[in-house]
Symmetry: C2
């Protein structure tokens, strides 16, 4: 249920080619022979890429997304396409949580997260516009990393929101995440968010032996009131383990405006990118997507401009905050995965603000809840300083032992 499409012959043929390449004595890549799952909103040449929608059921891209080409150039075997929710939005997919099949794996990168948790592949790619990497990783008990916006190029990936869409990855270790993000980090001028500067070296951060004491911030937002009691208890333990390394900040006052800004930008841009389907394919859109698109059509220019202004101020606020703190420590989700019967992929609210400002986030599977399901601890870092976030995450894992 994690996979939308696998071309068995093509996978075996690719593995044979890689063997031949190696036997010829040629240099092998950083991902030589490693199978990777690709979220089905990411183009793969000559294989279906339907973005979770019946509208694109027969769509076969001519060219692979830039990130798929980067993976292939480093020797990866593209195992196939993982299930995504419809247009990477909120409607549940057919994928289940490998820890307990009665529960949701989260969304929208449901298949990628579940494929890692189930041990199908060691690496998979997802994307996050709101909470679609960090949340499913948390629910599935794996590591998930969404680097800073602009570090991984989005050419050949479904556009839902140019300002918010970001690529991320899933793995069973933080080291594997660093490896694949090094492969994916690249400049491509066709992506307006991509920048012509050197990328972080994620693996260098992993290997950096500098484990100085760090200062992390625990920020109070309004939505913290909705945290499950087991999540809250887990974080109390973590805060006491961090002792004086953690400091509390109150940002309750800005919660509502930040969440609203994200929603306004997301829905406006979703409408710009997918709005035409309301007319042409209305009957093939699920209710949540249709409602979002219809809400979007009534957002005014002034409302959108206000949202952009809130975002700009938030970017500056967090830029300054990270002059004092190495990272923010915060839940990856409100609690454990919801039951499938609840018909939701879970609340993304713990990720929304970080997606809004484009900072790097990682979730570490270190807690578990009342149902025996995993709960992730999210660390959030300074924009474009992803190396420092990785270093801080290693330091944090060391403290927890």
């Amino acid at each position: 249920m994690a996979w939308e499409y696998i071309n068995r012959e093509a996978v075996i043929e690719r593995a044979r080619e890689l063997d031949a390449h190696q036997f010829a004595g040629r240099r092998i890549g950083r991902l030589h022979g490693v199978p990777v799952g690709i979220k089905d909103i990411i183009d793969t040449a000559d294989s279906p890429t339907a973005c979770g929608s019946p509208i694109l059921r027969d769509r076969i891209p001519e060219n692979s997304a830039r990130i798929v080409q980067l993976l292939e150039a480093d020797g990866a075997v593209i195992m196939g396409k993982t299930v995504t929710t419809e247009f990477a939005f909120m409607s549940p997919s057919k994928t289940r949580n490998p820890h307990n099949l009665e529960y949701s794996p989260g969304g929208s990168s449901a298949g990628s997260a579940a494929a890692i948790a189930a041990g199908h592949v060691p690496l998979a790619i997802g994307s996050q516009t709101n909470g679609s990497v960090i949340r499913p990783a948390s629910f599935c008990g794996i590591f998930g990393l969404k680097p800073s916006a602009g570090i991984i190029p989005r050419v050949g990936v479904l556009k839902t929101s140019d300002l918010l869409d970001q690529i991320g990855a899933f793995a069973n270790t933080i080291d594997d995440l660093a490896l694949i993000c090094d492969v994916l980090a690249d400049y491509d001028a066709r992506d307006p968010q991509s920048f012509a500067m050197p990328r972080p070296d994620f693996l260098r951060a992993i290997n950096n032996s500098n484990r100085d004491q760090k200062a992390v911030a625990w920020i109070m937002f309004d939505y913290m009131d909705e945290l499950d009691t087991d999540t809250l208890a887990g974080f109390e333990q973590i805060k006491s383990a961090l002792s004086s390394n953690v400091q509390q900040i109150d940002a309750r006052q800005s919660t509502a405006s930040l969440l609203a800004a994200h929603k306004t930008i997301h829905e406006t841009q979703l409408f710009q990118n997918l709005g035409s389907y309301v007319k042409t394919d209305r009957k093939h859109l699920s209710a949540p997507v249709l409602e979002a698109l219809e809400r979007a059509s009534s957002i005014t220019r002034a409302e959108y401009n206000t949202a952009i202004k809130v975002r700009d101020e938030a970017i500056e606020f967090f830029q300054n905050l990270f002059l004092e703190f190495d990272a923010i420590i915060t839940p990856a989700a409100l609690g454990e995965a919801p039951l499938l019967s609840e018909q939701t992929t879970g609340n993304p609210v713990c990720c929304t603000i970080w997606s809004l400002v484009g900072v790097p986030c990682i979730t570490l599977p270190v807690l578990s809840g009342a149902n025996g399901l995993p709960i992730g601890v999210q660390l959030v870092g300074k924009y474009a300083d992803d190396e420092h976030l990785i270093e801080t995450s290693k330091w944090f894992l060391d403290i927890l032992g």
Copy 2:
């Protein structure tokens, strides 16, 4: 005379941005702050790229070529556009040879080679369809490397011949060449020659301490009769220094068919790519380009197919030859640079066959001629085993001391 266009403000602004990036403690790229010259057939966003032709005088590309993006992503400063001959073909450009201004720098990557020899920049990019990297490097007394076809992507570079166009680089040391080729080597599916496999690691080859004895081939072609006497004398000395490491092979018989195959493919594809200018811009085409395009229009399908067959057989022949030899050693040009008054960029014949089969070639500035001008020694390696060519070149330079 080496530069077609430099935007002084943009260059300084870029350098400032790179400084700020470094001072912010972010990772710096392999070419951090290094100025690079770009042949003017390679697109650079927002700056003129006229391909040496008045027809494209006002052309400003929207996007940079993939290789320019790769350079920028590794911290390079694009210094400007270097002079190319018209459409990278044979007509002389305005650039002169820095060793003696009365002489040609070669073509078509005239400005790139001259800019290196004159010390304007440490690195420059060119392209070779026949002999446009190796020949100007030889004439200008610098190092030039054209990796195997398909290793460096050509997206955003003037197309003259899909089968023959290849990207190369110029530098004052072999180490610098290896560094820049590592940056340029990348997969891009938009280039039909590009392949989804790991690239050679050029710097690893430089640093490889394995300096086993090598076997090199000296291949006799018909055109060797035209070598200048000083070139011939230089190679006699080199062959005696190599002693039993060099072995002579006679390929005189196939010379004519190989050269003819290159010409047929080159002119046919040149016509496909630029043929429309014969009608629309005839008066802005130089006589050599016009003649080539007019000859091309009478090449039959059968002649083209025969040329492709000759090329395929040659590819196989050299693939097998490199089972026995580490490299071919051969002149980079027939002799020193010609006088400007001769109205030629020099004969590319010493490069034609290697461009035809797409194997990697390097020229080393180790000889000089009767006029005191440089003569390059060309080493040619096995397809896609560029690392081995670099190792063999280092071994060869060690022998010469």
